[in-house]
């Protein structure tokens, strides 16, 4: 087993005798810089970018207009009614927070698990996290009805001499989502500093040099800096890992600490976390497949990466299916007639359509990922992942709306119907998400260059069992072209 040669276009081998390469196409330090930095350096993006941006910013404008209308007129413009006081707003909130879980998961947990394939996709996913959390934050803020008083949620010294109620799960949400947004941003930015320095050093215009220069903070990639940087990165990863679990757990507490049938169940925290990772990864794959084709990143973000993410989707999809089943079983086993009614009503009541969309998309659809063919064929995985995203939105819809619409008092039963504002804001949140995402694609390094370089084979060979062929540098002063290494890498230990 000396040198392994692989077919150039595929690294999805299952052969246990070797590790598939992380990147394709004989990557070098130079080629990685070129591939990634060039995307952000184009004077003008391709026309398709403009088209996408026009669509998404139009939707964003719709979101803003809908929000202004809602703030001006009142929350009544939503379809929320008694007793369905939580509807699209909280559904969207939970949905987007869930989407936001993939980034930190890839960045932090896979980092701690030494999954080196994360390096190609983590930047992308972290950016998604931040944008998703922004989208998520809008809805509860608006839902409080008087959005201009949103600062009342913060514990600050005030002339009313009151403090927030820390025994309320809604306040935990403020802290959890706020901390999550902050830490995700720090993590994303810290990881991006070396890459911003790369863009700074390659920049040709003064404006870009100043702009990237400021945000790169004068990074020099020095040995002493790297030492502390790596330690800080690991600490942040260690902190972000329990954080990411806590955030959706806290979101689940919003429901589960109540006594509403269908909400109050102890499995909610891990179940919500699994669902969040599930939907987050599905969103990453949905966006990654077109983006890697569109921006020429197929060699850095390979089918292998996508396949690995699809496996995570399969695993978390099964966990979600497990939770659905256990909930149903215990609803019967517990012997509480209200709980039983809540579940029967979910499956066969007025929202039966939503429930079966949820089950089909979340439990049935990802089972396709048992097949390698589906896991490694871009168009197939995109279909499954889009279904998963739809299913996860409906999961939140089912949880929120079916439980509320059938209150304890039949006199208060009411069917919820979204209004045009509801639907506009849902679509608008997607618009905002994609707008931010497109801006990110245009101006920032989409792949963590320094991290991908660090997992090129030569680097970590120092103490590794895989000793690569000796490097053959072509260093010759001014025309230094970087160093070629064999494109054979391990994806993890």
């Amino acid at each position: 087993m000396s040198t392994i040669t692989l077919p150039a276009e595929d690294n999805t081998t299952d052969d246990p005798r070797r590790r598939a390469p992380l990147t394709m196409g004989g990557q070098t330090l130079t080629s990685i810089t070129e591939t990634v930095a060039r995307i952000a350096e184009r004077p003008r993006p391709p026309r398709a970018w403009y088209v996408a941006f026009a669509v998404s910013s139009t939707l964003t404008a719709a979101l803003i207009l809908a929000a202004i209308y809602l703030i001006a007129v009142g929350v009544g413009v939503w379809g929320n009614n008694v007793p369905v006081a939580w509807a699209f707003d909280i559904v969207n909130f939970v949905f987007w927070v869930g989407i936001g879980h993939a980034g930190t998961l890839i960045s932090a947990i896979l980092f701690l698990f030494r999954q080196r394939w994360r390096t190609s996709v983590n930047r992308f996913a972290e950016a998604m996290t931040i944008f998703a959390v922004i989208c998520a934050g809008i809805f509860p803020a608006i839902h409080i009805g008087r959005v201009w008083f949103v600062y009342w949620l913060a514990p600050y010294v005030n002339q009313m001499a009151v403090w927030p109620n820390f025994r309320s799960p809604l306040l935990w949400d403020v802290f959890a989502v706020g901390t999550y947004a902050t830490v995700s941003l720090l993590f994303w930015y810290l990881g991006m500093i070396p890459d911003l320095a790369t863009l700074r050093d390659r920049a040709t215009s003064r404006v870009r040099r100043i702009a990237y220069g400021i945000f790169a903070l004068g990074w020099r990639g020095s040995g002493r800096q790297w030492h502390r940087y790596e330690r800080a990165y690991m600490l942040l990863a260690g902190l972000a890992t329990p954080l990411v679990l806590s955030v959706h757990s806290v979101v689940s507490f919003d429901f589960a600490v109540s006594v509403v049938p269908g909400w109050h169940t102890t499995i909610f925290p891990p179940y919500f976390v699994a669902g969040a990772i599930f939907s987050g990864f599905a969103m990453v794959v949905t966006l990654m497949v077109p983006a890697r084709a569109f921006f020429g990143l197929k060699d850095l973000v390979t089918l292998r990466h996508l396949e690995n993410m699809n496996k995570v989707i399969l695993a978390t999809g099964c966990m979600v299916g497990y939770a659905y089943s256990i909930e149903f079983f215990i609803a019967w086993y517990g012997g509480n007639p209200y709980e039983q009614f809540a579940f029967i009503n979910r499956a066969f009541g007025p929202y039966t359509w939503a429930y079966w969309i949820m089950v089909t998309c979340n439990v049935v659809a990802p089972q396709a990922f048992w097949f390698k063919k589906v896991r490694t064929t871009p168009w197939m995985m995109v279909i499954v992942c889009i279904l998963v995203n739809i299913g996860m939105w409906f999961e939140r819809f089912v949880i929120v709306v079916t439980s509320l619409s059938r209150d304890y008092l039949p006199s208060a039963w009411e069917y919820y119907r979204p209004t045009a504002v509801d639907i506009t804001m849902l679509l608008g949140s997607f618009g905002l998400f994609f707008t931010l995402f497109l801006l990110f694609c245009r101006y920032l390094p989409m792949v963590a260059m320094a991290e991908v370089k660090a997992v090129l084979p030569h680097h970590h060979a120092a103490g590794d069992w895989q000793t690569p062929a000796p490097a053959e540098p072509h260093a010759n002063g001014e025309s230094h072209q970087g160093i070629r290494y064999p494109d054979q890498v391990s994806e993890g230990h």
Binding site: G218, H227, I483
Partner: protein, 407 residues
Amino acid sequence: MAEKEPTIADAPGGAVAALVAQFAGPDELVEAASQVRDAGYRYWDTHTPYPIHGMDRAMGIRPTVLPWMVLAGGVAGAAAALLMQWWMNAVDYPYIISGKPLFSLPAFIPVTFELIVLFSALTAFVGVLALNQLPQLWHPVFQSRRFARATSDGFFLSIEARDPKFEESRAAELLQSAGAVAIDVCRMPATGREVPTGVYWGVATLAILAILPPLGVAWYRSGAKKLPRIHPILDMDAQPKYRAQAFNPLFPGGMASRPAVPGTIAQGEMDENTALYLGKLGEQWVDEFPVPVSMEAVQRGRERFNIYCAPCHGLTGEGDGMVSQRATRRAEPNWVPPLSLHAEPVRVQPVGQLYNTVTNGIRTMPPYASQISVEDRWAIVLYVKALQRSQHATLDDVPEEMREKLR
């Protein structure tokens, strides 16, 4: 490439600030780093596009204190969160919610956890920047033309001139022997060393301008103002409802409070009892109090008398109230000083007549029915009777045992 002499690039400028040497690859750089470390330099560093495994050992870098800082941050976060929640919910604003104890540890754990993470993460971020002395937008090594590759695909080693051991030729020699493929000499720039005075002036101007808003607020705060209270967000401050005595343009006189429809009798004000309400029985003034006579009633009467009657009649009923005195002093032409309540005609009036006077006024005295309730009017009459008696008492009025003293 070791046999090939490195190119040494120099550029015009001031004193030498640093030498930047490029190396062929990471392994060469690690090797060179251990040589420079052994040579005993302090202000030197390696520059690579990604962290190099083994570089810490080669450079002799000791483990950073960052983890301890982060631990301290986490402990601070836990302490801050628990203290904050305890103080806010159990001490300063105690309020029982859904039957939970004021200090509910299980309910406080989520926020405590989040703040541990938040404080730790902020410490990690600020800590790594501070330890790395970032942001540092200018550094001598940036003078090197080829150094731009350090963030892409180049491997560099720099030695700074501020190092006490630094000597240009010796350092260059060391780098050459360590296998540098190229060496750049970085010189201090001729210009731009000192902070331009404009920056100081700018900051000073900002500082001066920053004083104005607090001064303005202080001025506004200190004086009287014609503006009603400023609430930036009025929200439900002004609700579309009418409070007592508010203005309402819909009604005549702009009065929001509607007067009773003529002929309305409010509950409890059905004045069938003419003795009580009018002080009359038929055409005769009543001479007996239609209300219970008690010491409390006298006290109440005195209090009400002092409020409503004393301004003119004076506290003793002599007619020397402050208002009366002032009117007399000012020689008000229309002013008629009130009759002393101790005057004979008044003294002999039956209580019903006195009551009627309070209620409806008499001569220049205005009616007080709108200001004083029926019971209070009777109480005042009672007190007036007591006042009168006090000025015209006989020995018979004095309790037996006190009479001796008076003699």
